[in-house]
């Protein structure tokens, strides 16, 4: 973990804790390994490593009914595997959930296997009317709390997207 990415991970963890989130369910993406480590080592949180992204959706949705503030954290591709779970569980029953994703596929991401996200991620999120809030600069980090509160007000999922530059501490 570099000093810059460590500092950003700490800021994100602070903002997450401040809004009442105490549980993180995650599946790794290369961009968020430092962030996941930060949550796992921070005693303000219970970190749950899940077997697949849908399991995070199921667990966090139940945690809401347990009165627990939580966030599902995953890569952009992981979100795409969750469309069924989100539309069925969270839309059918109107259960709020905050989902943090990486903004894979944006210009600058050299991984060819993530370029489908460049083409379709935004439009898929829009197609199911899921509010999306990008976290692109350090000044955006407080928006995590806004997104969490909005999800609970709306009683539906809200997605926040982290850029690579932010997670590296370069934005």
């Amino acid at each position: 973990m570099s000093t810059a990415s460590e500092a950003i991970a700490r800021q994100i963890a602070d903002a997450t804790a401040k809004c009442g989130i105490t549980t993180i369910a995650s599946l790794p993406d290369g961009w968020i390994t430092d962030l996941i480590t930060a949550y796992a080592q921070d005693n303000r949180f219970r970190h749950l490593a899940v077997n697949r992204e849908e399991s995070a959706i199921g667990f966090c949705s139940g945690a809401y009914l347990g009165g627990i503030g939580s966030m599902a954290l995953m890569g952009a591709s992981g979100l795409l595997t969750c469309i069924y779970a989100l539309t069925k569980i969270n839309y059918t029953y109107q259960i709020p959930i905050l989902i943090g994703i990486t903004l894979r596929g944006r210009p600058g991401d050299s991984a060819k296997f993530h370029q489908s996200n460049s083409l379709y991620l935004d439009s898929i999120i829009q197609s199911i009317d899921m509010p999306f809030i990008p976290i692109e600069k350090a000044e955006d980090i407080p928006k995590i709390g806004v997104a969490y509160a909005h999800s609970r007000t709306l009683s539906r999922p809200v997605v926040i997207g982290f850029t690579r530059e932010l997670l590296r501490g370069q934005a």
């Binding site: 749950l48 009914l65 347990g66 109107q94």
Partner: protein
């Protein structure tokens, strides 16, 4: 092999105070048919393998309550890794019953061909779960149920049942009604605030 209805009637007779989470298809339909309950039961009909982890989230937030999750073998086959997450959580108040009827009960009981060859209890033990039960007779369920439910510790129980053999109806409840009835029940009965959490 148990009759599905006999199995669920026994469970309904004995599980009077637990929170109940049912999954898509027969488990939701039968629990509704037998109980007509709308308060302590969350009919997660749109579950597709996530009922036990949804239940785990509820159990995690309500450690003083016993939470019973029902899933089917069709759902289990979609996401057997649920066992690894359950093992990691190791919630003492989560009781997972996996109902194996070897068919897709909610879709006209179409046969699930690979289910006959799978040892689900063996899979759970191999995943590191410590308290695993495999029950095919009603008398055995009657005898073991207190141990499964009342002794603290996460349990995974395979219930071997015959296909229902008929169409059953879904609970006539919209999703938000299920959420509010269940959530308000929890709030009234010692659970953490759910809907009344101040948003600032």
């Amino acid at each position: 092999m148990m009759r599905f209805e006999d199995c669920f009637r026994l469970l309904h007779e004995r599980l009077k105070t637990e929170l109940i989470i049912t999954s898509a298809g027969n488990t939701s339909e039968l629990w509704w048919e037998i109980s007509r309950e709308t308060e302590r039961v969350f009919y997660l009909e749109a579950s597709m393998s996530l009922a036990s982890l949804f239940a785990a989230g509820i159990a995690y937030g309500n450690p003083e309550k016993t939470v019973v999750a029902f899933s089917g073998d069709g759902a289990f086959n979609m996401n057997p890794g649920m066992l690894f997450v359950e093992r990691q959580l190791d919630l003492p108040n989560l009781k997972h019953f996996m109902v194996s009827n070897r068919c897709y009960g909610s879709t006209n009981e179409l046969t699930m061909p690979f289910s006959h060859a799978i040892d689900y209890a063996g899979m759970a033990r191999a995943a590191g779960l410590l308290r695993v039960y495999s029950i095919a007779r009603l008398e055995e369920l009657e005898r073991q149920l207190d141990d499964i439910i009342k002794v603290a510790g996460h349990t995974f129980t395979v219930l071997h049942v015959e296909p229902l053999g008929r169409h059953a109806v879904s609970p006539p409840l919209d999703g938000p009604e299920v959420k509010f009835r269940f959530g308000r029940y929890l709030e009234r009965n010692g659970g953490r605030p759910i809907f009344d959490t101040p948003l600032g």
